[in-house]
Symmetry: C2
Subunit: 257 residues, 2 copies
DNA sequence: GCCAGTCACTGGCTTAAGCCAGTTGAACAT
DNA sequence: ATGTTCAACTGGCTTAAGCCAGTGACTGGC
């Protein structure tokens, strides 16, 4: 057999995983359904329990199933996505008096909660320093870290970086930043958000991120490095958003120039 | 010990993985470096080989290392991202006579190659049907599937959906679509791309995608569901882009309204 | 100088067995 | 009816052992 075809010649664990995947995709196993137990699968295929276990691990890594100790392995439920639209930066939203996140949550009938984790003067990471045009070798920024929840489910981790020389001694150093949030304060400092630049990438979460966001294995994160530019094209704020991939999506609507 | 602190009380495999992760993050192990062999790790920690192996699997799942049979396990090299800017839809780019992808590749000094996998009349997936405003229960679309390569490395899978009633009998059904590609033909049909709507999400690849893109474990994909709207706000093209997460990023620059 | 064979080393995969820790429901006692 | 106990089940993790398949360097033979 030199047939590079597909099915034969491949490890038993993969074969079992593929069979199960087929069952899931065909609808023979629906979201929420329980898979056969590891021991049952092993017997069914005449394999060791570890081999069946490995098959389930493969599916978990693909984000198809989740195991719960003592209960079983279940087909993962597709989650409704929490969409962050590009209009989250829109000035129109100011009128509602809600921050973009609260607005987005309300739109989807969820309760928003924001936890201020820390506000500290720091030396910026390189990528942030480059975009904010500040030195990367001194404590040139204020770093505000927030965790965002929707209906008490953690949804995103946000790190906001502001120039220390601007934020020093203002409400930007406080948990409560006042009317219209940090963008309100930044406007008072002469920065009207005119353009934004979002750099988007994806990766697997760090263990810390997985813990904070409560991520199961097989769930990546979306990382957005956001830069706000004012009326003069000056970058005045950089934020790093880390979204959980299983419940979050982004939406960009823009004119073609 | 009820200390939920951190380190103690956790499985040996995780402890080993954490130690290695620390070594990698501290720079004690640099990108490209070889980790100790499974057998060496096992002995070093007084554990079974399977336990050391499990530790390495954890790191691989996090995208930190890759194993190569017969050679060893290596710290993954950070890859330069292939950035797709929002100006990829720009009309200005028409003048160069290059398609957006070729332009992007050229900008980064890579050689672009596009492989036309299939062009077929099909029943559209639900999400596509909704966005293109065509029936989801009949063969109402043409599906063009392309694979994109940069320097012979697969970079993205693109599925483009067009209305069958418009594409029928035109160059849109052919591999070679003529000057300015499909957007050139669609303009002749009266659709000038005026706004775009990109819905972005992330997930782990399917086995097929992993095979086409040559993805190692621990690498997610970026999925973009793109809709082109014409001067009358009519959707005339929907594409699904599947990008490899380890080499691809997206960039959106937009005005704040 | 070149090539081929060999061997020690790597990860890939499986088996078989055992103990642990959550979960659940049925049997039992109140 | 209510609550408790317990046994049978689930996955979580580890050990110990073995065979396979790539890799690469070293060793001869030509």
């Amino acid at each position: 057999m030199t047939t590079p075809g597909a099915s034969s010649q491949q490890p038993a664990s993969r074969r079992i995983a593929e069979d199960l995947r087929t069952d899931i995709e065909s609808g023979q196993l629906s979201p929420g359904d329980k898979l056969p137990s590891e021991r049952a699968l092993a017997e069914q295929y005449g394999a060791a329990r570890n081999t069946a276990r490995e098959a389930i691990r493969i599916l978990a890594e693909q984000g198809l199933v989740t195991a719960q100790q003592g209960r079983g392995v279940f087909v993962r439920e597709p989650q409704r996505l929490f969409r962050f639209g590009s209009d989250r930066y829109s000035l129109k939203n100011r009128e509602t008096g809600l921050t973009p996140f609260r607005l987005e949550a309300k739109r989807q009938g969820k309760e928003a909660r924001i936890e201020v984790v820390s506000i500290e003067r720091e030396t910026p990471p390189r990528d942030v320093a480059e975009r904010l045009k500040v030195p990367a070798d001194e404590a040139s920024v204020v770093h505000r870290e927030n965790h965002y929840f929707a209906d008490d489910e953690p949804v995103q981790i946000v790190s906001t970086f502001l120039r220390w020389d601007e934020a020093q001694g203002t409400l930007l150093m406080q948990p409560k930043t006042g009317k219209h949030g940090i963008y309100g304060r930044l406007e008072e400092l002469g920065h009207v958000m005119t353009r934004v630049r979002d750099e988007i990438s994806t990766r697997m979460p760090t263990p810390e991120e997985a813990a904070v966001l409560g991520l199961l294995s097989g769930v990546p994160v979306l990382e957005v490095l956001h830069t706000s530019l004012d009326q003069d094209g000056v970058p005045f704020e950089v934020s790093r958003y880390v979204h959980r991939g299983d419940q979050t999506g982004l939406l960009y609507e823009l004119p073609v120039e």
